[in-house]
């Protein structure tokens, strides 16, 4: 089946999901991001690549970190950035998604960065826009959050250098997590031999093993000897019905404490996509401790988003 985000020559037209992207595309994005890290340390933190281009941040769902880092990334590439919080404007007046996109296209948009609570929203837009317009999925429902997956693997590569000997544990609410799905696809594509998901049965999707991961319900067993611990946010706003007894119970079983972290390798790194629920999935002493790379993840996210935007726009 044709991958809608790739052009005939294998280059990226849109970034919708990491699933199905070849290893070379992922490595190219990571290498390009590494070059952008240097740009952010200079006197002038801008390059002229996207001069004259308009990037529309289309956020149908609340976001601070992702929207802000996309905005900074686009501005450092010299693009003009227009931020729209659609949740509080057109869609509440009844405009359809594609009508909104058509109107913004009429304002000469070159790129859409889309966050939507419905899985597949970015795909829908990508299939609708003109061929010179690029779409980046900034999170769609439970489906995918590819730039978060990319910044996660950038972070892992930065600290651990290579993937082929790593054990990575992804802990918590995998069921509602588009971050987890994107990360799992990225890790397996890059040849990570041991990817584990840890969580209660009610918060793991059925058939998650088919993604090439091992499943653990016991935190101690799952964390043993791993190099990377990725904690997920407990997404109470996406939960319908009684999946959990209480946040307190969850912390007792699956919250990352110094005692549980001690079971991982001594040089293990701890990641979290944010926003964190301290005392629910992660203890403050771990979040702020020496193993935590949670804030570097945010900084790397800017360079990774610059890389994605410049690779898409340069055709």
């Amino acid at each position: 089946m044709r991958n809608p985000q790739l052009n005939g020559d294998g280059t990226l037209q849109h970034l919708l999901t990491i699933e199905g992207l070849p290893r070379e595309v992922l490595v190219h994005i990571l290498d390009t991001a590494a070059s952008f890290i240097g740009v952010t340390e200079r006197e002038v933190k801008k390059v002229p690549l996207l001069r004259g281009k308009s990037v529309f941040n289309l956020f149908f769902e609340a976001s601070t970190r992702t929207r802000t880092t996309f905005e900074i990334a686009a501005k450092r590439l010299s693009a003009d950035v227009i931020n729209l919080n659609i949740g509080v404007s057109s869609s509440t007046k009844g405009e359809t998604l594609l009508d909104t996109v058509d109107n913004l296209s009429a304002m000469y948009a070159d790129m859409f960065v889309v966050r939507h609570s419905s899985s597949g929203a970015a795909h829908l837009i990508a299939n609708h826009v003109a061929s010179h317009v690029h779409v980046i999925n900034a999170g769609d429902g439970r489906h995918a959050h590819p730039t978060q997956g990319l910044l996660d693997i950038y972070t892992i590569r930065h600290y651990k250098k290579e993937f082929t000997r790593l054990s990575v544990a992804i802990v918590g609410d995998v069921l509602h997590s588009r971050v987890a799905r994107s990360l799992i696809h990225a890790l397996t594509t890059l040849g990570t031999p041991d990817v584990r998901v840890i969580g209660p049965k009610t918060l793991l999707p059925t058939g998650v093993e088919q993604l090439g991961v091992s499943v653990h319900h016991d935190m101690r067993e799952g964390l043993a000897g791993c190099d990377v611990v990725v904690m997920l946010r407990l997404q109470s706003e996406r939960m319908k019905g009684p999946l959990l007894p209480s946040a307190h119970e969850f912390f007792k079983s699956y919250g990352l404490t110094p005692q549980k972290l001690a079971l991982a390798k001594p040089d293990a790194i701890v990641m979290h996509p944010g926003p964190m629920n301290r005392g629910v999935e992660i203890d403050s002493s771990v979040a702020d401790g020496p193993h935590s790379v949670i804030l570097p993840q945010v900084t790397f996210g800017i360079a990774v988003r610059m890389a994605v935007m410049s690779i898409l726009a340069g055709r």
Binding site: S35, E43, V47, P48
Partner: protein, 168 residues
């Protein structure tokens, strides 16, 4: 066509550069060939200031048409460019567009005191008002041919001519 010996040209370029540089001169090579050359010149001239390297991919004027180069490497300027004498080094000087991009990038690090240009080969056919102060040799190359520096595993230089469309 007969290509000159790149090693001999490199010696000639080093000889010409010697009188123009001081210990505070910053040598900046343009990746990839120019960075190899700057590395060699930096060693031969025993310059005190560490050398820099630029990857001009983010400053190219053909980005819209050609996209991003597939192997972008980080630029590294390990000295303060403000007020400094800088010699930009490239293997082959042709249209001048690469040098334009390199100068734009340098100015994003600060305000250099003076920028000069050294090239192993000047093949003419400029499209911008740019000239090199230090040149190993001038050479006429048919349009549509790509001339570039190659480096073997022992670090020896040679010039290569190919049919690939020259990147500006």
């Amino acid at each position: 066509m007969n290509l000159p010996d790149a090693e001999a040209l490199c010696q000639e370029l080093a000889r010409r550069l010697r009188s123009g540089v001081t210990d505070s001169t910053g040598l900046v090579g343009i990746r990839t060939g120019g960075a190899w050359l700057a590395e060699r010149l930096h060693r031969e001239l025993k310059l005190a200031t560490p050398m820099g390297a630029l990857d001009i991919s983010f400053y190219r004027d053909d980005f819209d048409a050609a996209g991003l180069h597939h192997e972008v490497k980080p630029s590294q300027i390990p000295f303060d460019v403000n007020g400094r004498h800088i010699v930009v080094v490239d293997d082959v000087l042709y249209t001048g567009r690469t040098v334009r991009a390199a100068m734009n990038e340098l100015f994003d690090y600060g305000r250099p005191g003076k920028i000069e240009l050294a090239a192993l080969v000047d093949r003419g056919e400029r499209q911008l008002p740019i000239a090199a102060q230090y040149v190993g040799a001038t050479l006429s190359v048919p349009a549509g041919k790509l001339l570039r520096l190659a480096r073997d595993e022992r670090g020896r230089f040679s010039l290569r001519l190919s049919d690939a469309k020259p990147a500006a």
